[in-house]
Every structure is written in structure tokens, then in C-alpha cells.
Symmetry: C2
Subunit: 219 residues, 2 copies
């Protein structure tokens, strides 16, 4: 199985939590749609939250053609892209051993602009479907002017690592005798009831994409 482990992506602290296989990394990517992208200009790091899409080992970002981050990254400047799912608070008897349960991925990659029209539309479809499956078929898809106003970058995933923590707290042996509650407080992300656009025309029902998103929740 393909491994994304490299000297730069090897998990340094608590190496037992590190994973580098495609399956684990893609599963974490597919469970979300929001990433944080870090880049640097003149040794000043910047960081921006944005949506992503994935096809095999390619990650796509998009934004305005005037977007400063995308304009910087399209020329091959290195980026670090992080996807983090917080699953719960791990409350040990000591604050020192308290932690969080999470699944996270960091990708180190360089961007390349997607300019070919079909590829650009397909990348935008992947991003939309990552956020809310089936929406692409329901909505009006981009016209030529909108495509021109949108920049899409692709990042090949070659260097990456996942970090996962699950399960109960691990306390110091002597702490188990303490009269202190310990356990996990799990955290769930759910969609609430959809809110119609105040300008929605009469007789248009909440669509399949939204109903399914509510049913499936966010993992």
C-alpha cells in the first residue's frame, strides 16, 4: 500500500499516533470539506481556512482569481494543508494527561493551476460534492464568466501524515486512586433545520442534497 511518509511528514511526538497509508489518509480527507492552508511569504507564515475536494491523490482548492493565497501558490510555492476532525475531549484525572480524541491529516504539497476548462469544471464539481453531495446536479453550474473569475489549484498528495487518537484517558498509575471523574466527552457536528432563502420562490421544496446531508450528518 502506498505510504506518504517522508522525513518531513514523519510524526515526531507520540509516533504511535502517526499513520501514513493512503486508506487512512483518504478516509480522514473524505470525512470533511474544510481545511486550513499554510504558506509563507518572506518568512512570514499565513494561514487561511478554505474548502477542498479530492480525486484520488489530488486535492483541489478554489477561490477568486484575485485571491492572494491562490495567486501565490499557483507558482509552486510550498503549502501545508491541514484537515482536523475533533472527536471528543479526553478528560483524565490529571490535567497533564488530559487530551483530545481527533483524526487529523497534514499534507505538504505544491500547487498547480488547473486551466483546462473540463478539468476546472470537474474540480469545482468535486469541491461542491465534497461539501454537500448531490448539490452539483441541483444547482446552476458555473458559466464561462464565472469560470474565468475562479481560480482552481491542484495539489498532488505525495507527502502526508495522519494523526489519530481514540479511546479513554491514560492516567498515571497512582492517579487511578483519586476521587476524580475521568472519561471522554464526545463531540458531534450536526446540521440543523435548513433555513429557506427569504427570496425563495413559493413551491420550491428543500432538495435531496440537503435532506441527505441532515440525515448523514458530518463524520
Amino acid at each position: 500500500m502506498k505510504s506518504f511518509k517522508t522525513p518531513k511528514t514523519k510524526v515526531q511526538r507520540l509516533p504511535s499516533r502517526g499513520h501514513y497509508d493512503e486508506e487512512t489518509i483518504f478516509r480522514i480527507l473524505d470525512a470533511g470539506f474544510l481545511c486550513h492552508v499554510a504558506f509563507e511569504i518572506d518568512h512570514q507564515p499565513y494561514i487561511i481556512p478554505t474548502a477542498y475536494g479530492r480525486n484520488q491523490n489530488t486535492l483541489f482548492l478554489h477561490g477568486s482569481a484575485k485571491n492572494r493565497m491562490l495567486k501565490h501558490l499557483k507558482n509552486g510555492a510550498p503549502a501545508a494543508i491541514s484537515i482536523t476532525h475533533l472527536d471528543g475531549l479526553v478528560l483524565a484525572r490529571s490535567t497533564f494527561n488530559s487530551s483530545m480524541n481527533y483524526r487529523s491529516v497534514v499534507i505538504l504539497a505544491t500547487g498547480k493551476e488547473v486551466t483546462q476548462k473540463d478539468e476546472k469544471i470537474e474540480a469545482l464539481r468535486l469541491i461542491t460534492e465534497q461539501i454537500i453531495p448531490q448539490r452539483w446536479e441541483e444547482a446552476r453550474i458555473p458559466d464561462d464568466d464565472e469560470l474565468k473569475a475562479t481560480m482552481v489549484l491542484s495539489f498532488q498528495i505525495d507527502e502526508a501524515s495522519a494523526k489519530i487518537r481514540t479511546g479513554p484517558p491514560g492516567d498515571k498509575a497512582s492517579d487511578y486512586a483519586l476521587d476524580i471523574w475521568a472519561g471522554v466527552l464526545p463531540l458531534n457536528i450536526q446540521y440543523a433545520e435548513p433555513v429557506n432563502d427569504p427570496k425563495l420562490r413559493a413551491g420550491i421544496a428543500v432538495p435531496k442534497s440537503v435532506l441527505q446531508a441532515i440525515q448523514n450528518g458530518i463524520t
Copy 2:
């Protein structure tokens, strides 16, 4: 009122979504406890999710004394710290005008190690209380060995920006006639039922901190 706007933190795209005042920025910081920290080594950006605490205009991060990021940042290397709350999917009639509702802050700052014992304990208390209020009083707080094994960095917040989007989608005038649903799908983060540590001694009830966290939810 204090402004954190600087040339580097001025919001470039959609400037109307940018905010720089202390009140807005602190409110967004106080609504969460997880940030993403970006830093760079030899022009390679890195990014790591971690917990934070705040006291006035100082942000605290902590971790193992062996943590590579903290060791790098304690010497004054610049960091970018991002806190993002996703509030909902904004589903316009077109994919082009679809968006997200969110509250996010980016801080550009340099770290400084907190070495004085009382200050270090106070910073750790602030981080714990940021994650789950009242837990510090319930749990066993760090002893000298644990303090030694923990590194705490402080970041003075001088350069920062917030970006906020709220409300319904904004569609292109001609799109309002389309037979397509539009609206907002709000997103909620909630705690589920706490899971006792399998090694919990009999007779220890779920504590106040956990009950209150469940009741208050995450904003």
C-alpha cells in the same frame, strides 16, 4: 477601541467581511479552544492543530517540552494562528455564489516561552478552562515533573483580523427566477453523552464541568 489591523492582516478579498476590533476578535477566540498554528522552516510551511487559552491580548499554547513546533517558535520565529468556527453551508442557486457562514480569526505573532512557575501554571489553567470551564478545579493539576515536561508559549496579539459571513445567499439577479432551492444549512457542534473511563472507580459521578459543557454546547 483597539484595532489589530496592519498591512499584513488587512483582509484582501471581500474587505466588507473583515473586522479588526478587540471585541469581535476576542469573542471569536472565546467561542472555541482549537486553533491551527502555521510556521515555516527553510521556506517549508508547517501546520499543526492544537488547543489555546487566552488572557486579555495574550494567547497561550502548550505541549510537550520536546514538541518541535514549540521549540521552533519559542525563539521568536513568526507564527500564524487561525481559529475558525463554521456556522453553516450557504447554498445559493448557483454553485458560484454558494459559500459558507463562518467566524474566523487569524493572528500573526511571535512566541515567547513562559518559564516562571506561577505564570506557567496560570497559562495551563487558562488553556484547560478554555477547553472545559471548571475542569481545573476538579482535576489534579500539574506537579513539578509535569510542569518541567510541559512547554508553554505566550503570543501577544497585536496583528490580527477576523472574517465573518452571516445570512442568506446572495444570488445573481437573473438566478432568482430559477427553479432551484436556496438557503442556509446551519451547522451545530454539540457534546454527546459522556463516556466513563472503563477504569473509573465506582461511585464517582459525572462532574459539574462536563454537565455544564453539555448544557452550554459549543458556540
